[in-house]
Amino acid sequence: MNTAKLMQGNEACTIGALTAGLNFYAGYPITPSTEIAELCSEELPKIGGKFIQMEDEIASMAAIIGASLAGCKAMTATSGPGFSLMQENIGYAAIAEIPVVIINVQRVGPSTGMPTSPAQGDVMQARWGTHGDHPIVVLAPGNVRECFDLTIRAFNIAEKYRVPVIVLTDEVIGHMREKVVLPDISKLKIENRIRPKSKNDYKPFEGDAETLVPPMADFGTGYRYHVTGFPTNKGEIAGKQLERLLKKIERAEPELRDYFTESTDDCEILVVSFGSSAMSSLSAVRKARSQGIKVGLFRPKTIWPFPVEPLKAIAEKTTTIIVPEMNAGQLIYEIERIAGCNKHVMGIHKLNGELFKPDEIYNAIVQGARK
């Protein structure tokens, strides 16, 4: 039985990563994510893992891809400006199907912004930051314990589906300390990539018939393949590959789905909220419920691919959907798309680096209830 610990979000992410088998970290210091790098630099040598502080975030992203190809479970952590720099190589990881985990502890942007204040402005960057169509998975923990859980899940998804996975936290989730009781580690499911069995008929770009995921050979084990495939401008080859990559994640969506709900059975008003905003949302929903307002909370933990079906099922019964986000409105586009045009979808936004006060959301709920 594990004892309770006082733990910070960034620390929980790191411990989660180590539990999932992290053995390679490359990164560049940036507030508010730096504790992850610091902790990795301290812990990895103890288990014979590799740590390296690179010259920038572009190099960090490149290094973890290289390490993953060499058979490691690799991760980096950053915040907005660094996340922007990583985008090109995140696309590389997506197209070359490299299992890697990127933790983005969001801060206020754009540009330098407010480095020590939380924001949720990278929702769309996490999905569409790199150029071109590409598969990606983005998870959003809503408390410290979930930083642990979802970082493990991020590695499991990355390994199982050979896809880069982004853990999107923010300054509050990252720096907040909570009492955490970790689960029995021996009972956790840890996924490892499927490696090819035979050198003779290894097809690095042919997915499994069902999962569409090809086995992945480690460098230095005699497979000698060209990772991105021999360069071609043939549309039918390139198009087919990209289609497979997109379909791979589309097919996996039911399994990738992860969300939390409260009081959604009979709700007329629904709050859709993730990350640190969802802490305030939950508190607001409970207060409103105690006053008889039929309101519920839907908190996606996997935000890309968005759990469309579960939200749709709940949204159908509601009249109003409230979407609090610490940005000018990003996830709300997805919610509006899912809700359809006959629902009233209302955003509440924050651009000042402050966390939502529960009453700001509560007031919106009351306003929604009057309509």
Partner: protein
């Protein structure tokens, strides 16, 4: 001894490089050097960035990684750090290595990480058809310098040396035996090695600068190169307009992955009770 051809993916040949381009010669020199050293081809990784140079790994029968523009060394750093037992070779161009990848170049050299970097220097961006690079000579023409290049250019040997590379050599695609020798020595160095291979680009550099075709450009490399061993005996006047080739640096200094392994050994001795994974909460004092 293996023959050089055993290290190539013959079914991918012939290569795409233009007639008169020296990139094939450089690739040939790399596999010949590897053949001399009789490396196990399952333990060699070739990494490239983007550009004409970076098409080379596609033809080479190893684990090969064609990456993003300028970032080959950063990918290679991840591979080498993860698997120090592998021979990691980066094949890159002058633009790839010194413009967009300049930062990674100096830092890989600073760390003295065991990567062998072959910079295929044709003084131009060939793949995008002839723009100037940081190694285009001052005054030369490029499609982005129609009035002549006003930028100063890098001396890659000096850059590598100053950044901390422990093996630095330069040859040309005219001086092939020297090029193979240098690459062979570079591959034997534990630390970060750089071999600059000067090569003509008749299609874009030669034509734009009205310097003639492949033969004239190769003759120019032949006529203007002075071996560093001979240079010391020559007057400054005689060296004017020439460039030096040969071995500039060959020294032994602590290599990054070895240093890391030493640190791990020390740390593990200190934390011999560490169980892995979980760490005690009270240790965290930031």
């Amino acid at each position: 001894m293996n023959t050089a051809l055993e290290y190539l993916r013959e079914n991918r040949l012939p290569h795409i490089w233009c007639p008169g381009c020296g990139h094939g010669t450089i690739m040939g020199a790399v596999v010949r050097a590897i053949a001399r050293l009789n490396f196990d081809k399952n333990k060699v990784v070739i990494v490239s960035g983007i550009g004409c140079s970076s098409r080379a790994p596609g033809y080479m029968d190893f684990d090969t990684l064609h990456t993003t523009h300028g970032r080959a060394l950063a990918f290679a750093t991840g591979i080498k750090h993860a698997r120090p037992d592998l021979k990691v070779i980066v094949m890159t161009g002058d633009g790839d290595a010194t413009a967009i990848g300049g930062n990674h170049f100096i830092h890989a050299a600073r760390r003295n990480i065991g990567i062998t970097t072959i910079v295929m220097n044709n003084n131009i961006y060939g793949m995008t058809s002839g723009q100037v690079s940081p190694m285009t000579p001052k005054g030369a023409l490029g499609t982005t310098a129609p009035y002549g290049n006003i930028d100063r250019s890098f001396d890659l040997v000096q850059l590598a040396q100053a950044s901390g590379a422990t093996y630095v050599g330069r040859a040309t695609t005219y001086h092939v035996p020297l090029l193979i020798d240098l690459i062979e020595h570079a591959l034997q160095n534990d630390g970060f090695s750089v071999v600059e291979a000067m090569t003509p680009c008749p299609t874009y550099f030669g034509r734009k600068n009205k310097m003639g075709g492949a033969v004239e450009l190769l003759t120019m490399l032949k006529d203007n190169a002075v071996n560093i061993k001979a240079a010391s005996a020559l007057s400054e006047e005689k060296l004017k307009g020439k460039f030096l080739i040969g071995e500039f640096v060959n020294k032994s200094e602590p290599e990054f992955t070895n240093e890391y392994a030493k640190m791990v050994e020390q740390v593990q001795r200190k934390f011999d009770t560490f169980q892995g994974g979980l760490r005690e909460c009270e240790q965290n004092s930031d």
